[in-house]
């Protein structure tokens, strides 16, 4: 069963009559509290998978046949950020149907692509809306849009605009020329911080299963499950587990450039290891009356943090497929072996407790 897509109609502030064309919705460049709330919900939950606008032609200000045409995705947050930065300008916006995905990701999938752009140009009758033949695509859309084919098929010359919508006014003032800085995708601490909720969220979805396994393992007795043992023995492991999520999904992304080594797996392992080491100080050695659970914790949790940190490669602006493949080629066998080894150590610990060995 597919996810139902909610279609948000941008609040039309009027209609714009363009030549040879039905009325076009005119949208404001102001954000309402609903738009702000929408952004927050997108940042923290899977709400963003159904935050869409209707594809088609929109007007900002009072555009004419000479006005610039900007193209964006039908993820409402992409559309909102674009229109917010167009304040005071008179321009057209064409929204492509990218199935609610942002420009860069959709370009990678091909939905923000050459064919969709060509059919949308034709469908919106753009040849009659404007007399010039310029169309401005966000630079990151170049992954999916082939400028030459668009020009051959539609006559529109593709200009790859700035990476960030906030640079659009300066870009237009300079006569559609980008400075070298406008071409670069950045990834500063605030950019990384806003991404962390959606790293923590999926990691925490797996936490209940991990907690169940840990509690059952510690509570298991030859006679059944002892809740007291499950809780006392399992609790430090639950704390270690939360810590691995914290270091892997929050600390590593946030402090990314400050953590040594380039590999995300190593970065995550390092932060996880430091955290396990610090937390161990809080657990007296006699807690388990054995070193075995502590050894298992030292093996498993830094690697859990490493695995979670590796997931962040999907959200960065600079990791390559070849690089991530290399990390996984080494990482996956290590993760699987280490998980098996920690389980084995815990089983030996249980058997020694039961005086079987």
């Amino acid at each position: 069963m597919g996810i139902e897509k909610l279609s948000f109609l941008p609040r039309a502030v009027g209609v714009k009559k363009a030549a040879g064309q039905p009325a076009v919705s005119k949208v404001s460049s102001e954000w309402t509290w609903k738009d702000r709330l929408g952004e927050i919900k997108c940042r923290i939950s899977s709400f963003r998978m159904r935050y869409t606008v209707r594809p088609g032609l929109y007007a900002v200000g009072e555009p004419s046949v000479e006005s610039d045409v900007f193209v964006t995705a039908n993820y409402k947050l992409s559309f909102d950020i674009l229109r917010r930065e167009l304040k005071g300008l008179n321009v057209w916006i064409i929204v492509l149907d990218t199935k609610g995905i942002n420009v860069w990701c959709a370009a990678g999938k091909g939905t923000f692509g050459t064919n969709e752009l060509i059919s949308r140009i034709n469908e919106t009758n753009l040849h009659n809306v404007v007399t010039h033949r310029r169309i401005i695509i966000p630079q990151l859309g170049a992954v999916g849009v082939n400028a030459r084919i668009v020009q051959q098929r539609t006559g529109f010359r593709v200009y790859f605009g700035p990476v960030y919508a906030k640079d659009i006014p300066a870009y237009i003032r300079a006569g559609h020329v980008k400075t070298p800085e406008m071409r670069l995708a950045r990834f500063n601490m605030l950019d990384r911080l806003v991404l962390t909720p959606m790293e923590i969220n999926p990691a925490m979805k797996k936490f209940p299963l991990f907690a169940l396994i840990a509690l059952v393992l510690f509570g298991l007795q030859p006679s059944g499950i002892l809740f007291k043992d499950a809780w006392e023995g399992g609790m430090p492991f639950l704390i270690f587990g939360l810590m691995a999520v914290f270091t892997g999904a929050f600390i590593t992304p946030l402090l990314l450039p400050f953590i040594p080594f380039r590999s995300f797996a190593v970065k995550g392992w390092l932060t996880g290891m430091i955290a396990v080491f610090v937390l161990m100080k809080g657990i007296e050695l006699w807690y388990y009356k054995s070193l075995l659970p502590l050894a298992a914790a030292y093996i498993f949790f830094p690697l859990a943090s490493s695995y979670i940190a590796l997931q962040f490669t999907g959200s960065t602006t600079f990791t390559s497929m070849s690089g991530v493949k290399k990390e996984l080629k080494i990482g996956v066998p290590v993760y699987l072996t280490a998980t098996a080894l920690s389980l084995l150590i815990l089983i030996i610990y249980k058997l020694s407790q039961w005086r079987v060995i």
Partner: protein, 98 residues
Amino acid sequence: MKYLVDVVTLEFFQEKCTGCGRCIEVCPHGVFLLRDKKAFVADRDRCMECGACANNCEFGAIKVNSGVGCAAAIINGMITGGPPSCDCGEQSGSDCCG
């Protein structure tokens, strides 16, 4: 920020380059620069294999095995045996790629 050293599949054939500058215009990491009316790879390790340059080079001067640099997508591909795919929404209902 730079990722792993010497892993990317970016290939540049300078003899085919006409110096049009499209690659420089589309690269989000400043991998290419122009010298003597031809592009050259100035910083290969900054390449993230997005494929924007190769997609827009009219002269076939750039080759790169492009794809998403995302662990979840690549693991997905390993499991299904297909190419790396972060198939968001649709069937999987996954939360990635807002």
